[in-house]
Symmetry: C2
Subunit: 305 residues, 2 copies
């Protein structure tokens, strides 16, 4: 089962492994892709996949994403010098006390959750050596989930946000930064509060808006019948993100409540502006606003990647 | 310049031409595609392109989309037995009195505007023979515009809505229906009010929501700096439609004001529901709503095309 030498001969790899044993808790799209990339870059000698689902771990093993599968957490966590928590966000908070009771004092711990405040607080509250924890969030993903969808270049040319605190050990931060840079990411540092505000606006808000839009069309369709079938490409593209995992978005909403509510308020205010302009037939105002939005989006396309 | 025989030898074409001379007013993506499709299907002997822009008409001629270009409206309109108004919506209302003063009494007139109430009212008010007018709206389009982007199969497997009134001549309706069916559309009949309500929900509302979302992120970015650059794929896909033409959307907002305001109200109500659930930390409620939205969108994907 040990595939530790698989990555060695590949060109353009990092010279030295960063870790001996990497434990990935939750081997799905993100965890699996990080394992693949770390192996391909020669960053690690051995990868242990840990999780509740034996079947999923078996697939990860068959795909060569991990070297060893462990449903025995005790053994899996104890041996690792680097632990990546890659379950859905709620799971990360839930697992931290367990990880804390099992991990070595010098083990590095990081996560990939899209909410940072509550995770980092829980990590620093529970871990025996909080300085060895660095919160992380790679801004990468696809519509698909699961280890089958994972691929080594998922993080190439993407941003990864790290959220160290005043308690974070600078050397731990440096090592985690090297990990993400080695797999192709540009690393950006932020405090947790700022991270959650930013994501509240650019990621969590759009999801809530897409859900609300689908809900609106659904309700109108129920009331008036046969309305939704006239939806064209725009609507369907627009609402693609409303097909995301319900449990995941429930947890993000609960865990980033304050920042998300603020973003929703701000959006409702923008919507009201448009509504007022439509209501009073303000053609020039609408055209100005639309033109500005078009320009903003064009700028975003240039800078977002 | 006469290319009237170009379409004849093609396979699987309609046996008989429906029209002698088709005048397309506004030879852009929609008008150009309809011209191409009508020619390919052998539905017409001669296509006159009419418009303000000499350069655009020249390109349409060079591309073989039209046989003749006319900036002299008088001559262009007088000769046609079928006139398609394919300018932006506001232009259609504006042009109708002019068309009315030039067209033959037996000429069929139709349009492709995405708002129907105000256009059909103006057509029936101004045209010498209102029974020969049938409002139309092909639910088709791409991100691109202009005659260069036009192609004959744009309407294949798409729905086209026709909005006859009690004044519409049944034979006129039948001919226009044949035209759209011959180019691959499924024709659906609706009254203008219903059309404008449906489009208010499934098309115009999503655009306003996308604009408001871009505006929100823009405003937050202006306030807090460097926030928008963390936008990921979801946000960018989501807001693609906020790159549409500002003038076009200004006019749609003004021309479909009532139905759009109702849709915006309804959306604001849905958004409030989500906001309340987030605010009171209602996990099960959020999960139920998200699950229902996901199911709704999956159903839409099946029925929308």
């Amino acid at each position: 089962m040990n595939r530790s030498n698989l990555g060695k001969g590949l060109p353009e790899q990092a010279a030295k492994p960063l870790f001996q044993t990497l434990a990935v808790v939750g081997v799905g799209l993100i965890g699996g892709s990080l394992a693949r990339a770390a192996r391909e870059r020669g960053l690690v000698s051995r990868i242990i996949g840990i999780g509740r689902g034996r079947e999923n771990l078996r697939r990860a093993l068959d795909l060569g994403v991990i070297d060893v599968m462990e449903t025995d957490w005790d053994r899996g966590i104890r041996d690792a010098d680097m632990i990546v928590l890659a379950t859905p966000v709620h799971g990360i908070v839930h697992l931290l006390p367990k990880i804390a009771s099992l991990c070595g004092r010098e083990a590095l711990v990081t996560d990939v959750g899209s909410v940072k405040g509550s995770i980092v607080r829980e990590a620093e509250r529970t871990l025996p050596n909080p300085g060895r924890f660095v919160g992380g969030h790679p801004i990468a993903g696809t519509e698909h989930s699961g280890v089958e969808a994972s691929f080594a270049s998922l993080f190439a040319d993407r941003k990864t946000i790290l959220t160290p605190t005043e308690r974070t050990d600078p050397e731990a931060l440096e090592t985690i930064r090297k990990l993400w840079e080695a797999v192709g990411s540009t690393v950006v540092l932020m405090d947790t509060e700022r991270h959650d505000r930013v994501m509240g606006f650019v990621s969590h808000l759009p999801h809530i808006v897409a859900y609300a839009l689908v809900h609106t069309v659904y309700s109108a369709d129920q009331r008036e019948g046969n309305l939704a079938r006239f939806s064209a490409g725009g609507f369907l593209d627009f609402t693609r993100i409303a097909s995301s995992h319900p449990e995941m978005w429930r947890d993000i909403c609960l865990m980033n409540r304050e920042a998300l509510l603020e973003a929703v308020e701000s959006f409702a205010h923008s919507l009201d502006k448009f509504k007022e302009m439509i209501s009073r037939g303000d053609g020039p105002g609408l055209e100005d606003h639309f033109t500005q939005c078009r320009r903003t989006r064009a700028d975003l396309l240039k800078t977002a990647r």
